[in-house]
Symmetry: C2
Subunit: 160 residues, 2 copies
């Protein structure tokens, strides 16, 4: 939700993402890998979008380059969510939205890819914090993810 | 798996799909709807591919045209699977592979769409027959589905 261009993310939603991120943070490497394995289970074709997977004989989940990449994506999604209310905008640390826009454009990422990744992210978080999981937490993480994707798509449009 | 163009589907695999289909058959309408709700949960964008959903104000799961369509797709997938070994090929009843190829081409269906539908189908069957579900049943239904999609894609290529 946005109001006059500023992202509206309620205190309750912030508390839900902060609480669950504090538990998941220490397992980011493992959870990032689970996220990508779920994405590739749902849509195996998406492996072709990753140069280090494309012609590799090694199964994706054992590919040494996947784990660090998966962890950075997972951490980016979570950190962007926990800062959403404080900053009122999407912030990414290790890279820039501009670079994300360019790379997603380059690899032909479309709505369905972002949606499959969202479904996989919510499933990964649900399995990581089952005792905390609730419909409200699903909405909070889902909305935070949607804001991140909207910011990336804005840059994709600029770079096209 | 294929051998000299004839589909290889083992007796065990046939038994698994026949056994589970005999239980699911009577709930085809409900299970078909669950299949499509799962597809739309994973990739909401795919709703746009259905003319009766595209500009409809009614939520997809309440759209009166979705249930019959979803049932026919679910029945087609299951019937094609249970006949696979006997006929050694993909057979579809209510329509023709040619028509399926043309419609899937027309609506711009790509690999990811077929894969999301496969994931949703396997999840739907897993939830429908939890007591029978096993890794072997997942492979049997998955391979049968892959043969159906390969037959549709062959027609898509002809119609392009």
């Amino acid at each position: 939700m946005e109001s006059e261009g500023k992202i509206v993310f309620t205190e309750e939603q912030e508390a839900l993402v902060v609480k669950s991120w504090s538990v998941m943070k220490k397992n980011s490497a493992e959870l990032g890998l689970k996220l990508f394995i779920k994405i590739f289970e749902i849509a195996p074709t998406t492996k072709k979008m990753f140069s280090f997977l494309r012609d590799s004989p090694i199964p994706a989940e054992q590919n040494p380059k996947l784990k660090p990449h998966a962890m950075s994506v997972f951490v980016m999604c979570c950190e962007s969510a926990v800062q959403l209310r404080k900053t009122g905008k999407v912030t990414v640390r290790e890279t820039t939205l501009k670079r994300l826009g360019a790379s997603h454009s380059k690899y032909g990422v479309v709505d369905e890819h972002f949606e499959v990744a969202k479904y996989a992210l919510l499933e990964t978080i649900k399995e990581a914090v089952p005792e905390m999981w609730s419909p409200e937490m699903k909405v909070a993480w889902g909305q935070a993810y949607d804001h991140l994707v909207a910011a990336i798509k804005a840059e994709m449009n600029l770079s096209n």
